[in-house]
Symmetry: C2
Subunit: 200 residues, 2 copies
């Protein structure tokens, strides 16, 4: 049984969203599954002294242009949200809370949260919005809002994010195939090649 | 007559080197020529508060791994130099000095300087090394060393670098096709598509 692919992403990352729309089908083509692992890039950037892409002078305006062009290139429906970037601790916590109970449902939630933010411009930094997205998948909204305040859920999320940083994940998307790391939606072709033939 | 493609790069940039090994052939396929425009990323990074890729925590070690893997991916012969990154003001000045006299020779020099640094690990931040590279192309070594101290050459270089920054160039390689900017060696496939069919 082949190892699952680790897929790290931040819910506020457009390139993470693009990869999210592609990674499961890519993996399935090679008989692999994908372990989705949201993280909080804010925590990483604090360590590295980095800034969110969109806020860097010169690079920021290019990045917005590249995001739109790359979305068309990849055939992914995408808009730059009105509020961007945002804190993504709410969807991250809901994801890990669900993941301990039902991994497939957690992934459905992740896809729904990404699309809500990048297709419908809904502000998923809001607990309310995040709980509404989960409610659409059949969960009780009040239960979701309680989970967001649950110390065990907070702790689980912190452990996952710390483990990602410990592993060296510094960006989104960050994909690990049998120990080999690939950063960026523009490395999906290399991920495909690695899954086909291994190291080149 | 179609516009030449603008190709911005820093002589200390591995991804710039990869693009340098590909861009002329890619352009020729579409009946285009390429205007090579070296710049000094140090000047850009000062404005943007950026750090050289290789020195950023976490990102730096990944970047070195990605450079080696991308070189093999693109079929370009490459080693990470012992001294990296370096100041590239010497080759940049020699390039612009030559460019006013003989654009084809200037490009030959640029290719030779890139290969000296990234294939043979020669330290092109040194005026001596840079002059030796130019001498191999038939230039008088003492003339090259004099050019490096020539105020007019320094001024020309400064004007070119300032113009690049003014245009928004923040990285290497940075390729502009009919006003459309592409950043990164991993955008060469998009450059190819843009040259084929224009905007998608």
């Amino acid at each position: 049984m082949a190892n699952p692919i680790d897929f790290y992403f931040d819910f506020s990352s457009p390139y993470g969203y693009f990869a999210a729309e592609k990674i499961d089908a890519l993996a399935a083509k090679h008989g692999r599954t994908v372990h989705w692992r949201p993280l909080l890039l804010g925590a990483v950037f604090k360590i590295n002294g980095q800034q969110p892409l969109a806020t860097i002078p010169m690079k920021g305006s290019y990045a917005k242009h590249d995001m739109l062009r790359s979305a068309r290139w990849l055939g992914v429906s995408f808009k730059i949200p009105g509020k961007f970037p945002i804190s993504t601790i709410a969807p991250c916590r809901v994801y890990y809370w669900l993941q301990t109970q039902d991994a497939a449902l957690a992934k459905q939630f992740a896809v729904a949260a990404y699309r809500a933010y990048f297709k419908e411009d809904r502000d998923i930094s809001s607990s309310e919005v995040t709980a509404n997205i989960a409610a659409k998948l059949g969960l009780e909204k009040t239960t979701v809002l309680q989970a967001l305040e649950n110390p065990a859920v907070k702790e689980r999320t912190k452990i996952e994010v710390d483990a990602a940083i410990e592993r060296g994940v510094f960006g989104s998307p960050y994909i690990v195939v049998d120990g080999e790391p690939f950063w960026g939606a523009d490395r999906l072709d290399q991920v495909d090649a690695w899954l086909t033939k291994g190291k080149w």
